[in-house]
Symmetry: C2
């Protein structure tokens, strides 16, 4: 290992507490959708301290709405900016985007949390709170890596573009805005929670909303009505069968160890507004996984056909076919060659730090990488320290040791990709 | 038929338009929960015109909350009064309560309505709108009957207590308040929509809320979570089996023609708050029918036992048992002897007007009659002109001819029960 690499790793070992404190501060700021501003303020101040060139702007809905890949049901971005902070290189080097999202998903049922979901509590080497794993821990790993390089006095040839974006959890409007603003690079790393696995391929996904009809009646004579809840149970059942069919077709060895490579998740079901009435409508919302080699359109078609077949099982659906909307969020699938230099450098850096081979898999979810690669034509690798299973779960936490290791691996990768200037 | 009875029936025949207009006005006032005031204002003005002794008051939550039969999740009754209007008798006669509720259930999905749900539109002898059948039509039948008697110059021995109450659809706090305020009588008629059948027995019912647990996870790795929607489908399934078991035990011949004498209606299901997350909680709300000879407590126990058995089918429920709350509304079952004089007089009056025998059945739902009989010890018969199947449904309407016939039948019943003074 080269001398400057030693220096950087030494700095990281000596400044672990700094990184942990930054993560704690970030987790303590609730940055669910529409409330990203105070967590972004921490990011902005950190980038200012590092002397990065800051670009802070509010997404202009009117401008983005014309883009065919803008799938977003949010109209008001006021006060919750996107942030890009650039470490300018000396020139003639490969540039690199380091992309993390600041938004976190809702906490769900708070009763399932042992502590305040935004506690940032640390215990036995783990830091707890919504966003710790998905993905403030990954973002802190990026910032620590950058800080170590800067503090070690190393100048790079290529530019490094640190991005703290909003809206990843709702379909990537934040990252789309960065690409449309002209931010491109020769490669990108997104430290989503991969359990320290490297994901050269990412599952795409999109949201669906299915409307199921019933016929209302008084609950005391419920036999006069048709329950939209009962009918929606048949729809959910049918979606489970479709998921099975679609997954039987996946043969990519990168998916070998993944129980359901492209899941269909039913995330919401809402029906009825009165306990004593037979509900006349149900609305199902969920997320459909899309294989890396599949188009969004063909996946949509498949679900629409599947729902159309429901009338074979129940004649109610003949007159009252369920109606599917493709709304809100959409993540494009991603895909880079397995022998791409960025993938190779990252794997090598992993080996140097962890003294073992990385696990290379296909990701079980879409990331903003789909936008970077499909819209910006930027090769993307997804790799990060968070715990995949805990993303979106109660008692979400991160193993701090892994965050710090990821930081070292990313620091090495940045230097090997962007190259130190002489 | 007696001379004064002829007079009253003649008045009713000549003043049909008056009744229809009153109903239209009432239906056009949306009186869903919390918004009862403007429909009550019409009632109050009508009672004033009839010269009745008016008692208009707002329910005092603090006073009622101590009563063991106050099952109500509403705290604010400000501005939405209960109304009792008394036609004082000359004395020594049997008194009669005429009870109608002013509240209506929500309209559900407006798209299912051919017209504005509060249109009061009249077509082919039917008047359309939420509340037309349940039960503003019945209430208008009561008022028309009273008006006919008064306008025909007939004085009665017994008192007639006309009651326009709130909160029937949510468990009867309005009627409970009348009883607790001291309003009692020797009998009561409630013109809920019975399709002109006479119901000496009423099904009781109560609301339940079942909490079902899941385990959240990211939708892309949904196999790491446990879907509360999937688990709640098992609960709904189990409730259907319980309903079957309970109904097999019903042998009362009055229930012979009712497909499901004591239904368990699942009226609401709500689960999840993010399409890309596995939902960790589902809440099911519904209405459980209670047989006339059953106690509320034994029915509750049966459901609780049934849910406890779920763990036999799925070990998830062992660690995460569904939890049932008995919340909000509750209607006590009702029951009078088949040879009770009020039942006999009503049947006789029915025969005189309709020239056919009435159908006598057990009601498929609870009414405020449960409170009148259980708390006030008042014998209650439920009989009214609305269409049972349309209560709580879209495009609710009433056949005006039946409302007018009901009015004649009720006018005769009032006079035969309370007796004209010499």
């Amino acid at each position: 290992m080269l001398e400057y690499e030693h220096l950087v790793r030494k700095w990281l070992k000596e400044n672990q507490t700094k990184g942990i404190k930054l993560l704690q501060l970030l987790v303590q700021e609730n940055s669910t959708r529409g409330k990203e501003s105070s967590a972004q303020a921490i990011m902005i101040e950190k980038c200012r301290q590092l002397g990065l060139q800051l670009d802070i702007w509010e997404i202009d809905h009117n401008e983005l709405v014309r883009h065919p890949l803008f799938f977003c049901d949010r109209k008001d971005f006021n006060g919750n900016p996107n942030v890009v902070a650039v470490l300018k290189g000396t020139g003639d080097g490969r540039s690199l985007i380091l992309n993390g999202h600041i938004d976190v998903v809702p906490v769900g049922d708070e009763q399932n949390w042992k502590r305040d979901p935004f506690s940032g509590h640390i215990e036995a080497g783990k830091l707890y709170g919504r966003g710790s794993t998905d993905m403030k821990g990954g973002t802190v790993a990026l910032l620590l890596a950058l800080e170590a390089i800067i503090q070690s006095g190393i100048h790079l040839k290529g530019d490094v573009l640190f991005q703290s974006v909003i809206e990843e959890e709702s379909g990537g409007a934040g990252t789309l805005a960065t690409v449309l603003k002209g931010y491109r690079a020769d490669g990108a790393i997104i430290p989503e929670p991969t359990n320290m696995k490297i994901f050269p391929k990412q599952q795409g996904s999109m949201w669906f909303r299915i409307h199921v009809k019933g016929k209302s009646a008084h609950g005391g004579t419920r036999y006069e009505g048709v329950s939209a809840i009962e009918k929606s149970m048949m729809v959910v059942q049918r979606l489970a069968e479709l998921e099975k069919e679609r997954n039987q077709r996946i043969t990519d060895p990168l998916y070998e160890k993944i129980p359901i490579p492209i899941p269909i998740n039913v995330g919401k079901l809402k029906s009825g507004n009165w306990p004593s009435s037979v509900p006349d409508e149900a609305v199902i919302e969920g997320r459909m996984g899309v294989a890396p080699d599949e188009t969004m359109e063909s996946a949509q078609k498949e679900m629409e056909n599947c729902l159309a077949q429901l009338s074979k099982y129940d004649s109610w659906f003949l007159e009252n076919p369920p109606f599917v909307e493709w709304f809100g969020a959409r993540w494009l699938p991603g895909n880079i060659e397995e022998d791409h230099p960025l993938q190779k450098i990252l794997s090598e850096s992993f080996r140097d730090v962890k003294k073992e081979d990385p696990i290379i898999e296909a990701s079980p979810w879409g990331t903003d990488g789909g936008i970077l690669s499909n819209v910006g034509n930027i090769p993307v690798v997804v790799f990060g320290p968070g715990i995949t299973e805990l993303a979106h779960d109660a008692n979400e936490h991160i193993v701090l040791e892994e965050m710090l290791q990821a930081s070292e691996i990313i620091a090495l990768t940045i230097m090997r990709w962007c190259e130190p200037a002489k």
